[in-house]
Every structure is written in structure tokens, then in C-alpha cells.
């Protein structure tokens, strides 16, 4: 029984290691910035997830005490990773994509990142 547990834990660990590696490797290998975004946000998430699973399994199965608090870390990462990706994508859109390069935004006409108010509209307060 213990051997199976060990295999399970080792499996999670190996999986996590592979995905951790792939995530960062993708960042180096992929050429265009938007594509690079795919690699780490996903792979690393599962990479860490695997370690956390291994850790939970280890405490539950081997050390025989329930320890689930690693789940909180997963929760944080799952909550935050999309935001990180969103912001970096927005940065890319802002800097490298013209509205015409992007698909149609439907009735809204523009994507939010491009929907910028004119800076010149800022009233001049130095004279008042």
C-alpha cells in the first residue's frame, strides 16, 4: 500500500517537474510575446499544483494527518494567474497591436485597451 502511495506522490512530483520546466522553457522557445504568455501561466500552474498535490498526499497518506492548507496556495494561484495573463496581454495589445490587427469587437467597436480617452483633454490647471 505504502509503495502505491509513494508511486502516486512520485508521479505528481514528476508531472509537476515536467510542467514547471515546460512553462519556463516555453517562455524561451516561443518567439512571439503573446504565445509566450501561454506557456508559463498554464504549465506553471499545474506544476505548482502537482507539487501541492504531492505534498497533500504525502501528509495524508504517509504522515497520516490531514493537511489541506496547500489548497489555499492553489486557490490564490488560480485566482491570480488569469489576471497576470490579462495584464500582460493588455500590455502587448497596448504596445504592439493596432485596433485593425485585432478581430472585430462587435457593437463595442474597440477593445478596452485601445479605448483610451485623449490625453490632450486634460485641462490646463497651471494658469488658474
Amino acid at each position: 500500500m505504502g509503495f502505491i502511495f509513494e508511486i502516486l506522490i512520485a508521479f505528481f512530483l514528476v508531472i509537476s517537474g515536467i510542467f514547471g520546466f515546460v512553462g519556463s522553457y516555453g517562455m524561451i522557445k516561443l518567439k512571439d510575446p503573446m504565445s509566450r504568455l501561454h506557456a508559463p501561466t498554464k504549465a506553471t500552474t499545474l506544476g505548482v499544483g502537482g507539487v501541492l498535490l504531492a505534498s497533500i498526499c504525502h501528509s495524508v497518506l504517509i504522515e497520516q494527518h490531514l493537511s489541506l492548507h496547500e489548497l489555499l496556495i492553489t486557490l490564490f494561484l488560480f485566482l491570480t494567474a488569469p489576471i497576470t495573463a490579462l495584464f500582460i496581454a493588455k500590455w502587448h495589445i497596448h504596445r504592439h497591436e493596432k485596433p485593425s490587427d485585432l478581430p472585430d469587437a462587435g457593437e463595442d467597436e474597440l477593445w478596452a485597451t485601445h479605448a483610451v480617452e485623449q490625453v490632450e483633454d486634460v485641462p490646463d490647471h497651471s494658469k488658474s
Binding site: 489555499l72 486557490l75 490564490f76 485566482l79 491570480t80 488569469p82 489576471i83 490579462l86 495584464f87 493588455k90 500590455w91 495589445i93 497596448h94 474597440l110 478596452a112 485597451t113 485601445h114 479605448a115 483610451v116 480617452e117 490625453v119 483633454d121 486634460v122 485641462p123 490646463d124 490647471h125 497651471s126
Partner: protein
């Protein structure tokens, strides 16, 4: 009257003129006069005992540890000088009352004058050389004020500064000399010093002490080559010149030489230094005086000459010469003061002191003429006036003096000086008073009111009387004084009378008088030659020296402190490295006692990343954002290293602080340039790199050496490990150290943090209070901004995260005592939870929902921490003594309470408030109109629907 009172009266009295001047000029003058009069009376009371040869003393232990005591003594010498100072002072006060004009601040004048008078009296009554030094320097200071009295005259200011510089520096030399002297003798009391002639003269320090003391005397008494300040001091009002530069201050040097005569004189060194200086000064002063057209300058140089004369006499070191010196001091004081006052009257009446514009005043100002002529003739050494008597004695003494085996040098030069002296004295009379009356005086001259001429007249009467019957009038005084000067030994044979028979001195006098007349008759021709001669102008030289010194100082200072921080830092680092190296190499290093831990792969990778990131920062530091990212990497790895090396608390703190710091830097980078331009040369960068590398090697080597050696002693932390749970109630020893064993450090630490936030707030207010505000309101961003500043997803996620983050904060807080965590990290976590709301939903929106007040949070934090500490007082325990215990409320399990938690609450609040206040303040810079918005998210499809729904409702 006690000597204390005599010395103190002028100082006490100095207050009144300044105060009474509102009551009128007469009140001020009367106050000054009355003070002086009282002091004079106090002095005169002591005549009987002084004349008996007694020494009156008064002693007070002021600074016994230093040997600086307020000891005063009054002997003949002191009496004579005190008499001169107070007596002539009284006359000057009278004279000045009429001399000064309505515009002059007379109260100030008398105050300064009395200060000076007090200092002079102090000098001559001191029985402690340190005390004497005090008064000595005071005369320099008060004369500085008096010479510069007419602030509007550049000559006055410069003259004052020159006088201060010269006499002040002499005074400093004298301090050294006096200290050496006191050191030789073992006491600073004059009465002791004067008993130790052999000891002093045998000491190897005799010569340095002598030179240093003489420097003080020579500068004060305007001896060559320090004479140049005196004529420039003539820019002072005439009463000042008359008082300081004839009767008193310049005589302080003479007084001191006379005072020290018993222990310093009589050696070759004394003779050659003092007598030679005096001789040169006498001759030089006399020659220059002849060619001065300014009446006061003429008198000034004549004073220089006469001071030289006395100096020379003292320098001879014989008792007879000493008597002659004393006698001449008395005589000079009388005729020279009278002459100065005469010159002042002439100046006052005619509006000029230029001899070239004067002449023929004999008929217009007969009284002045009479006074001036008698005084001048006395100065020329014409019998039967007192000047003649002492000059005879001087000439007599020179005849017996050998200078480096030469018998003729001293008498010859003395004669020459006497000749010039007669010449300028005659010139004073003839070119001012004699000759035809002129019509181009700047003012219409006539004799002044009696108030002005009374004082000189009195002095001239003395001149005549002393000349006629000196033995009766000043004989006892001269005897007493001379006896004091020569140290109480038997007086030599001398007689104070007009006729001594056909002595060499008489022939010399005759030659001098006739020669003087002859010189005067050829004055016009001599003047041409004189003017053609190149001669150093002391003022120019002095000014040049001072201005060169000033400019040099400025150059040195500005070069040294050139405002370049990197230079300052390099010097500091270099100095530190050098001293560290020195300290290391002069010590001994023991063998390594610890085995190094093996290097594992993960730390190695961490090391590679850390070094790589650090080097990359150095290389790419001009890209500020990249450097910031890389710093983040370094911080992350350092935090991981702390974890790896068994310091989880540190890791937590490091990473939390790291993030907040990064945010602060980003907030400021928003306003700063995003790139650092190249502004140091490659050579400079290499130099900097070299220094940095050396410093790096130093710190690395130091810690490496430490890491491989055990503590030489058991560390105190063994106690902490042993007592953390027992005495502190916590299992996380690091936390127990922080909140208990060393809670006082933490108390200071939160205060630092609180202050940091206050400063940031205060600076924000200060900066926003200036025109920077309008710049900020109109500032354009570094680069075009994207739309959607508060993305929907971000807002939603932060909303979801906030309660969890607060929960985590609470968790970190409560478990800190037993597990990694604590109030500090909890504060940061909670602050970041709030900060995320700011970032996501906008400043305005978030601040509206803020339920606490940052200043209050900081304040309460510190107060709670302090109150926790103070609570121990009620238990009669020291500040910050903690307590803990266990509570059991069924059905709950037993749980622990500790006052440390309360203390940690203070930490928590202070940190929270400080971080929020800092971030909040910096955020205010970014505020621009239009930024304040009603909604937390820019895009909210639900919001767009709602108005429609409401519209629909209305339609329905």
C-alpha cells in the same frame, strides 16, 4: 575697595550706557564716567599700601581643575597701569562726550569703551596668567568693536579686522607660551611664577615659551614686523585712538614684558629678541612718522616708535633700563594722549587731519596751539619737559649697550631715531600751527569748548610738572613700579632730574634736536625721495594675504566638498577598507574550526541566479525598470535563501517588504526619468567597479572567515532558546526575541517606520504646497496610456481576495508567537490587501471606503506598544516586561494569552498605518483631474444595463 570690584566695575558699568542712552547722551556719558571714577577711587584707596611696597591680593577659585583662578594682585606696576587706564579713561570719556556727533550711537561707544577698560584693568591686576589671557583676548575683542565703531567707514572695518587678526593671533601664540610657562612652573599663578626665574630659564621650554609670549606682546604693542595694524586702527574715532593707541592697549604688551621681566629677562635670547625688535621699531616708526601727512598717522607711527623705545629698554635687561622704561611709559602716556586729543580737536574744528591742508592755526586756536606745542616738544625730547628726562635715560643706557660686540650700533641707531623723533615732533608743531593763516580750511576753525580741551590741558600740565620736578611728582611712583618690575630686588642708582652734567646722553640730545630741525627744514626734498622709494604698503600686503587665504580656503573647501556624493562615498568606503585591512593585518587569525556545509544543487542554482541578476543590475542599471525587476529577483532569492537556511520569519518579512518597496519605487519611477543617461566616463566606471569589487571582496572575505569559525564564547542566544517558552510563552524563538527579550528594539523599529511614514506625508504636503502641484496636474505620462484603467476582472478578483487576504493577515498575526509570522508581517499583508483595492478600483473609490485613519493607526500602534510596556510598571516591573498565561473556558480547549500579543498589536497597527500612509501619500502625486470616478471598474456591462432597466421602469 576689593580688587574684584575694581576689575568688575567697568564690566558692570558697561551695561548702563547702552541702556541709558535713551535718557540722553549726558546720562550715558555720566554713567560711564561715574563707573570709571568709582573704579579709580577704589584704586586710589590702595595708594598707601602700594607705596609701602605691599602687594594687595584677592583670590577666588574659579576653575581649580584647570588652574584658572580669579586671582588678582595690585603692586606698583599694576597700580601704575591701572592708574593710567582709569585716569586717562576718565579724561577720554569726558573728551568723547564732546567729540562724537549726534549721529553716532554714543551708548554703544561707552559700553564698548568700558568693556575695553575692564579688560585692560583685568590684565594689569591679574595674578593668574590664564586669567590674564582671558583679559588679554578681551582687549582684542573690545578694541575690535571700538575700531570698527564707525561701521560705515570701510577703513574702520578693515582696520578693526586687521587689528583683531594681528593681536588675536599674537594672543593665541601667547596662550601657548603661557601654558608652557605654567607647565614649567607647575602653577599658573603669577606670584608663583615670578619666584621661579632659575627654574624657568633652565627649562628647555624656556625659548619656545619666551618666543610665544613675546609674539603676543609684540603684536599687541605694534612692534616690528607687527606694527602695521596700528596706523590702520586710526580709522577709529579719535578718543579711541587716544585711549587705545597711546595710553592703554598698545601698552599691554609693554606691561606684560615688564611683568615677566623678573623671570624672562636677563638672557641673551631676551636681549637679542626684545632689544633688537625695540630698536628697529623705534627707528622705523620715527622715520615713517616724519612722512605721514595724516595727523593721526603721524602720531600712530610716533607711538610705534616710542613703544619700540620702551621695548628696547626692557630688552636691555638691566635694572636701570627698566627704570627708564617705566618712566618713559608714564611720560609717553601723558604727552601722547594730549597729542591725540589735540589732533582730534584740530580735526574736529578744521574738518581735516591732513597736514598739507593745515598750517597757521596758531592764531585761530591759541589754546590748542599751546597744548599741542608743549606736548609735541615733550615728545621731541626738549627740556624741561618730561619727554626729555626719559629720553636722556634711554640714550644714556644705549651708550652702555653692546650689540654683538659692537659698541656703536645701538647708540648710533638710537640717536638716529631720536633725531627723526625730534623732526616729526617739530613738524607737528610747525606744519599745523605755524606759518601763515590759510583760507581754505574745510571748516572755520576756532578753539573748541572747554570740555574738549580740558582733558589735554590737564595732561600737558602734568607734562610740564613732571619735567620740572619729576622726583617729587612721580619719583615715589617710579620707584615702586620699578621695584615691582625688577622683582622686588634693590633698585639701581638713578636720578630723575633735568641736569646730569655733560654726559654723552646730553650731547646726543643736542645732536638729535638740531638734527631734527635740520631734517625738518629739508622736509620737502626728503619727501620727494621718500615718495620715490619703493616701500611695502602693509595694508595691501595684509589685504592680499587675507584675500588669498580666503580664496584659498574657499578653493580648498569647495574642492573638497564639491557636492559629488560618489566622491564622498568613495572616500568613506576607501577609508573603511583601509582601516579594516589595517585592523585585520595587525591582528592574529586563528584556524578554521567549522566544517563547511556541502553545496547542494538548489542553492547553487539560487546562487547562480542571484549572482547573475546582480551582475545584470550592474550592467543594465541604466534601464531603471529592468533594474527594478532584477532587484526583485535578488530579493526573491535572498528570501528563498533565508528559508533554506532555517529562517522562515526572515523570508516572510523579506518578501513582504520587498514587494512594498518595489511598489514605492514604481510609484516614484512614474515621475522620474525611466532611463539613467550615461554621465560618467568609462574610466570612472572602471574605477568605481574596481572599488566596488574590493569592497565586495572585503565583506565576502569577512563573513567567510566568520562562517568557518565558531563563536569564541557561548552566545547569549542559548539563553533565548532555553527561556523562550518558559519565560516568554512562545515557541517561535525569533518572535519571542522580537516582542519580549528584545522588545525594546522592536519598539524603536516601529517608531522608525512610523516616522518614515510621517516624513513621507509631510513631504507630500510640502511639495504639493508649491508650484510642483500645477506641474503634476498637467504632467503628461511617460508613454501613451492604455484604456481601461480599472479592468473588470482585476476588480472582481481583488474583491474576492480581500477577505481571504485579511484572514491570512489575522492568521499570520496570531500564530507569530509560536510559528513564523507576527504583527509586522501581518501589518504588511493587511496593508497590501487594502492596497490591492487602491490599485484595482481606484484611489478615490477605495479611500471612500477606508474605515481607518492612517495617522491614527500609527499613533495608536506606538501608544499601544508603549502602554503594554508601561503596564508592567503597575506590577513594579520594568518597561516591556511581558506576562502570559493559559485560559480554559469549557468547552473550548485551553488557550494561551500573552501581553506580547498586545505589543504585537501595536506593531501591527503601526506598520499598517505607516505603509498605507506612505503609499497613499505617494499616490497623491499622481492625482489628476478626471481621475476621480464614481465607479470602481471602467467597464461594467451590468451598469450599462441598469439605467435601461430603470428607464424601462419609468416607461412602465
Amino acid at each position: 575697595m576689593s580688587l574684584f570690584l575694581i576689575a568688575a566695575l567697568p564690566f558692570l558699568g558697561a551695561v548702563f550706557p547702552a541702556l541709558l542712552i535713551r535718557a540722553g547722551r549726558n546720562a550715558a556719558a555720566s554713567a560711564a564716567g561715574l563707573t570709571t571714577f568709582l573704579a579709580l577711587m577704589g584704586l586710589l584707596i590702595h595708594i598707601p599700601s602700594v607705596m609701602r611696597g605691599d602687594v594687595v591680593t584677592a583670590r577666588f577659585e574659579w576653575i581649580p581643575a584647570l588652574g584658572l583662578n580669579a586671582n588678582f594682585m595690585l603692586d606698583g606696576l599694576g597700580f601704575l597701569f591701572a592708574l593710567l587706564i582709569l585716569g586717562i579713561g576718565l579724561l577720554i570719556i569726558l573728551y568723547a562726550r564732546f567729540y562724537l556727533s549726534r549721529e553716532d550711537p554714543m551708548g554703544q561707544f561707552y559700553t564698548y569703551l568700558l568693556l575695553f577698560q575692564g579688560a585692560m584693568v583685568g590684565i594689569v591686576l591679574s595674578d593668574n596668567i590664564l586669567l590674564l589671557l582671558v583679559f588679554w583676548e578681551l582687549t582684542s575683542l573690545s578694541s575690535f568693536l571700538l575700531i570698527g565703531y564707525w561701521k560705515h567707514l570701510p577703513e574702520g572695518r578693515q582696520g578693526a579686522r586687521m587689528a583683531l587678526a594681528v593681536t588675536g593671533s599674537g594672543g593665541l601664540a601667547m596662550i601657548a607660551g603661557m601654558l608652557i610657562l605654567g607647565n614649567i612652573v607647575g602653577s599658573y599663578d603669577l606670584s608663583v611664577i615670578l619666584q621661579n626665574k632659575e627654574l624657568i630659564q633652565a627649562s628647555p621650554y624656556y625659548l619656545p615659551a619666551l618666543i610665544l609670549i613675546l609674539l603676543g606682546c609684540f603684536t599687541k604693542s605694534a612692534q616690528f614686523p607687527f606694527h602695521f595694524w596700528l596706523p590702520h586702527a586710526m580709522a577709529a574715532p579719535t578718543p579711541v585712538s587716544a585711549y587705545l593707541h597711546s595710553a592703554t592697549m598698545v601698552k599691554a604688551g609693554l606691561f606684560l614684558m615688564a611683568r615677566m621681566w623678573p623671570v624672562l629677562a636677563g638672557t641673551d635670547a631676551w636681549f637679542y629678541i626684545v632689544a633688537t625688535t625695540g630698536l628697529i621699531t623705534m627707528l622705523m616708526g620715527a622715520v615713517i612718522a616724519l612722512f605721514k601727512d595724516d595727523l593721526k598717522a603721524l602720531l600712530a607711527f610716533s607711538t610705534v616708535s616710542h613703544l619700540g623705545l620702551v621695548t628696547m629698554l626692557l630688552g636691555f635687561g638691566t635694572k636701570f633700563a627698566a627704570v627708564a622704561a617705566i618712566f618713559h611709559i608714564i611720560n609717553h602716556a601723558t604727552f601722547k594722549a594730549a597729542l591725540f586729543m589735540t589732533a582730534g580737536i584740530v580735526d574736529h574744528e578744521t574738518g581735516t587731519r591732513d597736514i598739507k591742508r593745515l598750517g597757521g592755526l596758531r592764531h585761530l586756536m591759541p589754546i590748542t596751539f599751546t597744548i599741542g606745542t608743549i606736548a609735541a616738544l615733550s615728545m621731541a625730547g626738549i627740556p624741561p619737559l618730561n619727554g626729555f628726562l626719559s629720553k636722556e635715560m634711554m640714550l644714556e643706557e644705549t651708550v652702555h649697550t653692546t650689540w654683538l660686540h659692537s659698541h656703536y650700533l645701538v647708540p648710533g641707531l638710537a640717536l638716529l631715531a631720536a633725531l627723526f623723533s625730534a623732526a616729526y615732533s617739530f613738524r607737528f608743531v610747525s606744519h599745523v600751527f605755524l606759518g601763515p593763516e590759510r583760507h581754505d580750511y574745510p571748516a572755520h576753525p576756532h578753539d573748541p569748548p572747554v570740555g574738549l580741551w580740558l582733558a589735554p590741558a590737564f595732561l600737558v600740565v602734568l607734562v610740564v610738572l613732571i619735567g620740572l620736578n619729576s622726583a617729587a611728582i612721580v619719583g615715589p611712583l617710579v620707584a615702586v613700579v620699578s621695584s615691582a618690575v625688577i622683582g622686588g630686588e634693590k633698585l639701581p642708582y638713578y636720578s630723575l632730574k633735568l641736569w646730569h652734567g655733560f654726559t654723552p646722553a646730553l650731547y646726543m640730545s643736542v645732536v638729535a634736536t638740531l638734527g631734527g630741525l635740520f631734517l625738518l627744514s629739508l622736509h620737502r626734498h626728503e619727501e620727494k625721495i621718500w615718495n620715490a622709494l619703493p616701500r611695502p604698503e602693509a595694508k595691501v600686503i595684509f589685504d592680499t594675504v587675507i584675500s588669498v587665504l580666503t580664496r584659498l580656503s574657499r578653493l580648498i573647501t569647495d574642492t573638497l566638498h564639491n557636492g559629488v556624493l560618489s566622491r564622498y562615498a568613495i572616500i568613506m568606503i576607501g577609508f573603511t577598507l583601509a582601516l579594516g585591512y589595517y585592523a585585520y593585518t595587525t591582528g592574529t587569525i586563528g584556524p578554521e574550526t567549522r566544517k563547511a556545509l556541502p553545496i547542494q544543487i538548489i542553492p547553487l542554482i539560487g546562487w547562480i541566479c542571484l549572482v547573475g541578476a546582480t551582475l545584470a543590475i550592474m550592467w543594465f542599471h541604466r534601464n531603471r525598470l529592468l533594474s527594478l525587476v532584477l532587484i526583485g529577483v535578488v530579493g526573491l532569492i535572498v528570501s528563498m535563501a533565508f528559508n533554506y537556511l532555517s529562517a522562515p520569519d526572515l523570508a516572510l518579512t523579506q518578501i513582504s517588504v520587498e514587494v512594498v518597496t518595489m511598489i514605492l519605487l514604481l510609484l516614484s519611477l512614474n515621475f522620474l526619468p525611466t532611463d539613467t543617461p550615461w554621465d560618467s566616463s568609462a574610466a570612472r566606471r572602471w574605477r568605481d567597479a574596481a572599488i566596488s569589487v574590493v569592497a565586495g571582496i572585503g565583506s565576502g572575505a569577512l563573513i567567510y572567515a566568520l562562517l568557518l569559525r565558531d563563536f569564541a564564547f557561548p552566545t547569549i542566544s542559548e539563553f533565548h532558546l532555553a527561556n523562550s517558552y518558559k519565560g516568554g510563552g512562545g515557541t517561535n524563538v525569533v518572535n519571542v526575541i522580537l516582542v519580549d527579550f528584545r522588545g525594546f528594539d522592536t519598539f524603536g523599529e516601529i517608531i522608525v517606520l512610523g516616522i518614515a511614514a510621517l516624513i513621507i506625508f509631510a513631504l507630500t504636503e510640502a511639495v504639493l504646497g508649491t508650484n510642483v502641484r500645477s506641474y503634476l496636474l498637467n504632467r503628461k505620462p511617460h508613454w501613451p496610456q492604455s484604456g481601461d484603467s480599472h479592468p473588470l476582472m482585476m476588480v472582481v478578483v481583488t474583491r474576492m481576495m480581500m477577505p481571504i487576504a485579511l484572514m491570512v493577515g489575522a492568521y499570520i498575526f496570531f500564530r507569530g508567537h509560536n510559528q513564523p509570522g507576527g504583527g509586522f508581517i501581518a501589518g504588511l499583508v493587511v496593508a497590501i490587501a487594502f492596497l490591492m483595492q487602491y490599485m484595482a478600483s481606484g484611489y478615490t473609490w477605495a479611500i471612500e471606503r477606508q474605515r481607518f485613519y492612517y495617522h491614527g493607526s500609527i499613533g495608536w500602534g506606538v501608544l499601544i506598544a508603549a502602554a503594554t510596556g508601561l503596564g508592567a510598571w503597575f506590577n513594579d516591573r520594568p518597561f516591556l516586561t511581558s506576562d502570559f498565561g493559559y485560559i480554559h473556558w469549557p468547552p473550548l480547549e485551553e488557550f494561551e494569552w500573552a501581553t506580547a500579543i498586545l505589543f504585537d498589536t501595536g506593531v501591527f497597527l503601526a506598520v499598517l498605518g505607516a505603509v498605507m500612509l506612505a503609499l497613499d501619500s505617494l499616490s497623491r502625486f499622481a492625482w489628476q483631474p478626471g481621475m476621480a470616478q464614481e465607479f470602481p471598474m471602467d467597464i461594467n456591462p451590468l451598469r450599462d444595463n441598469q439605467p435601461q432597466e430603470e428607464e424601462n421602469k419609468e416607461q412602465v
